[in-house]
Symmetry: C2
Subunit: 213 residues, 2 copies
Amino acid sequence: MAARSYHHGDLRKALLDAGEVELSERGVEKFSLRGVAKRAGVSHAAPAHHFRDKRGLLTALAQHGFEVFADRISGSGGAGGDCRADEASALGELASLITCGMAYVDFALTCSNLFSLMFASSWPDFADADLDRSSGRAFDHFVKEVRSVFAGEGLSEEEMHARAMANWSAVHGLAVLLLEGRMRSVLALPQPAREEAIRRILEIAASGVPASI
Amino acid sequence: MAARSYHHGDLRKALLDAGEVELSERGVEKFSLRGVAKRAGVSHAAPAHHFRDKRGLLTALAQHGFEVFADRISGSGGAGGDCRADEASALGELASLITCGMAYVDFALTCSNLFSLMFASSWPDFADADLDRSSGRAFDHFVKEVRSVFAGEGLSEEEMHARAMANWSAVHGLAVLLLEGRMRSVLALPQPAREEAIRRILEIAASGVPASI
DNA sequence: CAGGTTATCTTGTCGCTGTCAAGATTTGCG
DNA sequence: CGCAAATCTTGACAGCGACAAGATAACCTG
């Protein structure tokens, strides 16, 4: 409430917001706790009363990131998603999975530093209960999506699981390789073509055989 | 030659070796330039004469890592690879690709901190010419391997490219997810079953349709 | 409403880090 | 032989995360 008194009001929330900015602007590796405190207009030791240490703040940021991520790939807040959830089943399970994969990749490219914190950093404490629950929820949704595609084929449990893992690997790997700037042949494409190329790769990963020709 | 004189002899090489140890023991995030200097038995400012800065040393380490990596996935130095290169063609292109993928994953799990530096860190300077050449060589080999699998199917160039990227994504994603400890269902398996599960996932990613059943 | 307890925030400090500057030592070349 | 360049050391500085101690405000019990 009071923004300028000795006591901040809701410094925890303010630190999370400032931390998100610090993370997106400077990246995980240059992320500074003192910098976050400065952004929040507070002394360098203030964060210690709301987060155990630097790792604690980064864990909370990652946890929140996984919740946003779960929403995105669930279609609740898709970036290019003018496709509502109930339309998905009409379009078929496979199309729904592709949409989910596109949201996965889109999240990685849009919130790249946050994605790096969540997936390519040992800073967060993954033994943390909240973080574990949030990340687990996001993955479970994705795996469930994959399984529904192969549901009608009467596969064994092992085979089903292997296919889910294969597709998850492909989507995640695509996101990572694009994020790290490694897949230059795709990154070099102008925007409409790039998105189409990404979609095509996801289709191959999802269906095994090409969907059309 | 002389190991104890004022001049070290070959400090550059010694720093690379010490850096490799520092990296494997402490990881990218706790990697310290002063720590490397101490390991090499030299003052804290000595590395500056052989590498511009911390980033310079990590760039050199990543560059060397990509060369080792390229050798590994080429079958020259496979860990579980009691399969020589000329046997590969007899076993078929697909088996060769699977072996390559297994080596890819094996490298990630064996040299996890080095792999993280190479693929999940913004520390190395990827504009560096040497690093760019080494990393490009490794990727090119892998992509070539994938393309040879689909060579006989008369695919268009775009389709060929998309399949190569899809498989690369799957292999890389699998490696990353295992490395980060995310794919628990696979990591929980005891050793012989785990390797078989990984192989099965790679087969699905490579062939699209399951190879057997 | 009063007084003490607790939560919150600040200031100060420590050891560690990467980087720069300046000096010491050795090598190598003219 | 002697000077210049390369190599390594020492010293310093700012920034970092973490800890301790003190200042301030809010809460809570009576």
